[in-house]
Symmetry: none
DNA sequence: ATGTTCATATTCACCGATAAGCACTTAGTT
DNA sequence: AACTAAGTGCTTATCGGTGAATATGAACAT
């Protein structure tokens, strides 16, 4: 289970340390893709192949399906963690998530998310997220 | 699995570097053809025969199906990657996809797509791609 | 408190992938 | 034969990715 929040920084070449605790669970190789709300998603290989299988079944003839597949697959990169615990974030993904230097990495159960640290802070600030409100909405989902 | 987004440029003769990571998976010889949404499709030899098989099953009696088959087969060219990792894009295909110089190559699972870079950027802009839709599709696929 | 170990940060050097320019070949045109 | 245009191959320079070495700092044990 991927949990926790970590703050680290990119090195000059755009590499990032994967927090040791997440590393255990993600594995040496994993996949990052463009995510929602301006962050990046990171999936373990298992989660990802699952996802890929589903994407393969979508029809080429449906524009909506093409959009969806393009979004995730063109935005995906396989990452390998090096001996020093780092991995490279491809430059187009860095651009997409507007990452400069300071980065937040968070575990969200089945995936990790990588955020520009400032964006993550803003996202967590009151206007955006109130735990109470979230809780309200969850009852609707039957929890 | 073909994934990722790469930006490169055509040389004076209309050749393009095939990104090393895609090369591994596509093979030395592959097929490009006219694609949907104004890009070119590129298939590994395996995927191409796959695709051909599907086209063959379409009913000749249906005008729409005939058009569809003609569109893909008439545009197809076999490409070979040279020692320097480049391949030539036939001029009729370059014209079709309105390629001048700057090009985006993306992996979409079973095929690659080659886009005029500007067109690709426009395609990816907010008006076109909606996060809500993506999120909706994600839940539908159970992610 | 001190030393040890592990995780993270920073810097540097090297190598391979890519960009760009040029030369040569072949085929078609005049 | 001379010219042009498209295609092919080679050479060089640059840049990004990769690995190694070292430094810093926190956690832990003695």
């Amino acid at each position: 289970m991927l949990i926790g929040e970590y703050e680290h920084s990119l090195d000059a070449k755009g590499r990032l340390i994967m927090p040791a605790k997440l590393r255990e669970c993600l594995g040496e190789k994993f996949i990052i893709t463009k995510g929602l709300d301006g962050c990046l998603f990171g999936f373990s290989q298992n989660e990802w192949t699952n996802f890929e299988e589903k994407l393969k079944t979508l029809p080429l003839t449906n524009k909506n399906a093409r959009d969806f597949v393009r979004f995730f697959l063109s935005g995906a990169t396989e990452c390998e963690i090096d001996k020093q615990g780092r991995f490279l974030i491809a430059s187009n993904l860095r651009d997409y998530a507007e990452m400069e230097k300071e980065v937040a990495i968070i575990g969200v159960g089945t995936r990790i998310e990588i955020w520009n640290k400032e964006k993550w802070k803003k996202y967590n600030s009151d206007e955006n997220i109130s735990a109470d409100e979230i809780a309200e909405n969850m009852t609707m989902l039957g929890i």
